[in-house]
């Protein structure tokens, strides 16, 4: 469960502690209006309009292209059926309407990462619109509208010689990514703080990963986010000047960039200045947003319907068929597990952060007490997954192995420390915990007579501690328990040792 921290927004909690400039007095006079635009690559096998692989990371430059995605003359694109289905599934998960007619359009602009001179996207008749996403920010419910979810193709990637844009004489173009199916999810400007924006992204990413359409990797850019930020005087409905923020590739960067931008705009406004409508990039190293040379007037995309692609007529029967493939979504699952297993809201949220985690929990909770399963998953297993960088469901031990281990613990066959040691030992290598316990004689020492003999030896060898305890010093008992545990190689049941010592010292 290495990803837990991110999925529940723990990442942001860290950044909240590492303190950005504190909210200043200028900020409190204004209200932030934030809208997010997310681009998410779809987990298809092939590209959007050709049969090249959609997996492009780590491949030699330009080894994953064909005449269609190279934009050579005379070729015809054909729509990837799975990409359409994934987009509809996403739109349904976000409570969108799916119109019965949709089409693709050409978005024209010249840039070397776009070999055709246009991107095939959707303009006025997207695959879906009018949805919403609900979540909580600091205990208060927030509903953010979803304007639309549409389908388009990704661009290639550019490498600038020396990475210094202004001094580079040439740029290198790799078209391996060109044509990968890309979903654009446009949110309404319903978010009012950097925290709300981050939470929206965390929840959106969680849903996309739950329904299996996106791998949620911000660093590698399979899940990307741009933000529009403006400020208005608190209580006013007037719209402020909108600034677009780009280049935020972690949840932490999103939070910091938005917080920075809100404070920057507030300072300009409070100082009687005016804001410029512009695009600014987040520069992590400087901890600041920086104006990118305005290309506003180049944003004249001259959209027109894509003549090479017949439109799509997706009837309600199709939509209903897709809806039936929808897995239980995280919020509903957290609610159900909370009720079924008596979990706290926090535990339920943590345990359902990723679908695999929730699957693991449900499998375990059906075999051992639910509380025991929750404690181990959220405690030792989460720590180990994080430390070894392997999620439980991908580990050698696996969910079944952990269940076998916890059954031994629950039945009293082994004690807690032994279970923990076995977890660490078998986590990556795997193996049958019961067989290992049998083979090495790790079973808990529950033979009272045998244990009593050891207890007597320990009392005899630690006369001072025994005398202390008899004189009323409770703490001395701990020392004696420790000695007995040591003498038994950690196999004794601590509660039993405790009882036997008390009986002998009475």
């Amino acid at each position: 469960m290495a990803h837990l921290a991110i999925a529940v927004g723990g990442d942001g909690r860290v950044s909240a502690q590492t303190a950005e400039p504190q909210t200043n007095s200028a900020v409190s006079a204004y209200e932030a209006v934030i809208g997010l635009e997310v681009h998410a690559q779809l987990l298809t096998r092939s590209k959007m309009f050709c049969a090249c692989s959609a997996e492009y990371i780590g491949k030699p430059a330009n080894s994953n292209t064909c005449p269609v995605c190279l934009g050579l003359p005379g070729v015809l694109p054909v729509i990837n059926r799975q990409a359409v289905e994934y987009t509809v599934l996403t739109a349904l998960a976000l409570n969108c309407e799916i119109p019965e007619f949709t089409k693709f359009d050409r978005k024209n602009y010249f840039y070397p990462d776009l070999p055709k001179g246009y991107q095939i996207s959707q303009y006025d008749m997207p695959l879906s619109r009018n949805g919403w996403l609900e979540f909580e920010v600091e205990g208060a419910p927030v509903r953010c509208g979803i304007t639309r979810v549409h389908l388009e193709e990704d661009t290639g990637t550019l490498h600038h010689a020396g990475d210094v844009l202004q001094s580079a004489r040439s740029s290198l173009v790799d078209l391996n990514r060109a044509g990968v199916p890309l979903m654009e999810i446009v949110g309404e400007p319903d978010l009012r703080s950097a925290e709300a924006a981050r939470e929206y992204l965390v929840r959106l990413r969680q849903i996309l990963m739950y329904i299996g359409v996106n791998d949620g990797n911000l660093e590698q850019g399979s899940f990307r986010c741009d933000a529009n930020v403006s400020l208005r005087v608190r209580g006013s409905d007037a719209l402020g000047t909108k600034v677009e923020i780009k280049n935020m590739n972690s949840f932490r960067a999103v939070h910091r960039a938005l917080q920075y931008e809100i404070e920057r705009q507030a300072a300009v406004l409070a100082g009687g200045g005016t804001l410029v409508q512009e695009t600014r990039g987040w520069v992590e190293a400087r901890g600041a947003t920086v104006s990118q040379r305005s290309k506003e007037y180049a944003h004249d995309y001259r959209y027109f319907p894509e003549p090479d692609l017949p439109p799509l007529a997706l009837d309600s029967a199709y939509t209903e068929r897709v809806r039936r493939t929808m897995p239980e979504l995280p919020a509903a699952r957290a609610q159900r597990l909370q009720e079924k297993f008596g979990l706290s809201a926090y535990d339920a949220a943590v345990l359902t952060a990723a679908r695999e985690d929730a699957d693991a929990y449900e499998a375990l909770a059906s075999q051992v007490p639910a509380k025991l399963a929750a404690n181990w998953l959220m405690g030792d297993v989460a720590a180990l997954a994080n430390e070894r960088r392997v999620a439980l469901h991908r580990s050698g031990l696996g969910v079944d192995g952990l269940a076998a281990l916890l059954r031994l613990l629950d039945a009293g066959t082994i004690n807690g420390p032994t279970a923990k040691a076995l977890l660490e030992e078998l986590y990556e290598s795997g193996g049958d915990p019961a067989a290992v316990v049998q083979e090495r004689g790790l079973g808990q020492l529950d033979d009272e007579a045998a244990l009593l003999a050891i207890v007597d030896e320990v009392i005899a060898a630690n006369a001072a501690a025994a005398a202390d305890f008899r004189a009323g010093k409770e703490a001395a008992l701990g020392r004696l328990v420790g000695q007995v545990m040591k003498a038994t190689g950690g196999k004794a049941q601590p509660q039993l040792v405790n009882r036997l010592l008390r009986e002998r010292l009475a």
């Binding site: 080894s63 359409v84 017949p310």
Partner: protein, 100 residues
Amino acid sequence: MTLSAADVAHVAVLARLGLDGAERERIGSQLEVILEHIARLQQVDTSSVSETAQVGELVNVMRDDVDGESLPSAVALGGAAASDGGYFVVGAIQDNELDG
């Protein structure tokens, strides 16, 4: 229909054409002739014709999500004016290029 000098300059930037003053003037007047022609077409009564971008009646033409062969990169780069280490090489991307 009159096309301003600013319109011509704007279209030139979008098309990434670096035009000098004389060229802008010459091409501007040619563009104007084309626009006048379109303006005449727009006078035709099309109120009974629904907007269309497709002449065929096809809908829902899709392919299964199966990955196939890509081109060897040497072939992909075969038509490039310049390439280096498997990459296409283009002039440096600088924002001010868009200023014409």
